[in-house]
């Protein structure tokens, strides 16, 4: 109820508001421009960031060039060589159709590394726009949107995502869009909180007094100042996106067989675990774990650098 805002300006506004804007704007913008290069240098000095980036780079190379350097064709079946334990010929063993697990793990990086960044970018763009509008416009729009966001957040996002996946069918584009949409309310909530903290700073009413339109105030003035919060949110969501993609493909709502995919390969083979064929699921599982850890290390470093 305290968020009744809108473009009305309080009568006690400083008559020198226009002058104030410029000084405030300069004071706010000057450091952000200088921060960027130092942030990079600080990041590159952190060992956790370098380790995370190296692992991520490894999987990106696998995703792009995997088909070229995988030892076998990941789709080639050798029914007589099924369920073989790891050996010199097949480092990660073979699955029940005799496909080489090492090759499938290498090539399996592709889909998850395509969907994850695209979905996170989509969610961040939509969530930022919604959060800016909720935080800045306030009033009934914010009240209604906040209720809906809260109701959606009462459901675990895995459940929402697979409901959508059942409804529209699973493919790379639909999974990307679904995860992006599911992320939107989460990111909107964070951005809204950041905007509320900015909204009463002098530069916002000043920009309004200068006659700037709401869209220009939101995207031109407030957005640059909440950018660090959005950046942290983006990197955190990136790890969640890996989680979401891997979970959906495990549940059968991801890439369809026979395309190699870590989650789908685990789903196809985990029932054989009791027969002792552990290599068919353990190596894809470790691949997911290493990717998640890499992104977490990067996220943690970015947060530490931005906080310092």
């Amino acid at each position: 109820m305290s968020d009744i805002g809108g473009p009305s300006v309080s009568p006690s506004s400083d008559p020198l508001g226009a002058l104030g804007t410029q000084t405030v704007a300069i004071a706010v913008e000057a450091p952000t421009q200088r921060v960027a290069p130092t942030a990079w240098r600080l990041l590159l000095r952190r060992p956790t960031f370098l380790v995370g980036a190296a692992i991520l780079l490894f999987w990106v190379v696998c995703a792009v060039f995997g088909y070229k350097f995988a030892p076998y064709n990941p789709l080639a079946q050798q029914l007589l060589a099924g369920n073989q334990a790891p050996s010199g010929a097949h480092w990660f063993g073979t699955d029940q159709l005799g496909r080489d697990m090492l090759s499938r793990v290498i090539v399996g990086a592709r889909t998850i590394l395509i969907i994850t960044p695209l979905a996170t970018i989509l969610g961040t763009v939509l969530g930022t726009a919604l959060g800016l509008a909720m935080g800045y416009l306030g009033g009934w729009f914010d009240t209604v949107a906040s209720r809906i966001v809260e109701a959606i957040l009462a459901l675990p996002f895995v459940i929402i995502a697979f409901l959508f996946a059942v409804a529209v069918g699973a493919s790379v584009p639909t999974i990307t869009i679904i995860i992006g949409l599911v992320f939107t309310p989460l990111i909107a909530r964070t951005v809204r909180a950041a905007v509320l903290a900015e909204r009463h700073l002098d530069y916002v009413p000043a920009a309004r007094l200068l006659g700037e339109r709401p869209a220009r105030v939101m995207f031109g003035e407030i957005l640059p100042n909440v950018m660090p919060a959005i950046l942290v949110e983006f990197t955190v969501r990136l790890a969640y996106a890996v989680f979401a993609v891997a979970t959906l493909s495990f549940l059968g709502f991801g890439v369809q067989p026979p395309t190699p995919d870590w989650g789908a390969d685990i789903a196809a083979n985990y029932t054989e675990l009791l027969a002792g064929y552990w290599w068919q699921v353990l190596f894809p599982a470790l691949a997911i774990a290493s990717l998640v850890t890499a992104i977490t290390l990067i996220t943690d470093s970015v947060e530490q650098v931005l906080a310092s």
């Binding site: 409901l163 059942v166 979970t247």
Partner: protein, 317 residues
Amino acid sequence: MAAFLLRRLGLMVLTLFILSLIVFFAGQILPGDPGRATLGQFAAPSAVQALDHQLGVDRPLLTRYLSWIGGVLHGNFGTSYAYRSAVEPFVRAALINSIKLALLAFVIVVPLGIIGGVIAALYEGRGVDRVISVTGLSLASLPEYVTGIVVIVVFGVTLKWLPVTASAGQGAGVLSQFRHLILPAIPLVLILFGYISRMARAGTIEALSSDYTRTAVLKGLPETTVIRRHVLRNSLLPTITVIATQTGYLIGGLVVVETLFNYQGLGNLIYKAAVAKDFAMLEAGVLIIGVVYVLATLAADLLLIALNPRLRIGGSE
């Protein structure tokens, strides 16, 4: 105080109403005809139409929503299309199973998470802190089946210490049920550990840098007393909220864990209902999850108010 509680309850009812709308209409956009799905693709169109009429799915959306929500308010969740019998017993049994699993996970993770977070905070910025924080963060974003498979391989297949199926079978004793639930609980524990320890760490760091802690140290209290009496009591307040909000998340995790361990809980029920397009079952399951989440956050708010006298006066936000 009373006004605050009333407003809080009012918002809760509103959230539940919106939730019921979302759940109902999301269930309705699932493509496919329930009559066709039940009778199979070779059934005569007239038989499909008759069944659709019997199930009431040929009525307008709004009528269906009103009759559905009216039934729900009386404890009647409708009829399962797949089982052709009332949804309610299935949902009830599944909910009880899920609660058992979730409770075990909570009992293990809450003390572990708090201890981990407090230790990390006491060694802020040093090696121990980095290890706990980064490990917690990584574990929190690992899909449950990844850690689930690792524990199955290690404890179930290699060491053969624990059973790898979650349900102990009919009429099994409490102890046997408990043994079967340990492995499925571990992935949930690992995920929640990250969140809870992170929050406990943040709360402890804030309490450590507060004036009252400095006063307690300066007046010469031993370090353990300061931590126990002044730091811990204040640092755990935000942790309670996180534990409550993670309840909803936990149920999402149950979908995967229950599928992996083939356990008949709420997550498994929703998953199977979604695949089978069993709307009534699906809607009931998802709505129950929402209700559990909303109630858990309410309980956390009340607990916070009870523990923190300052909130009793100030009221909202």
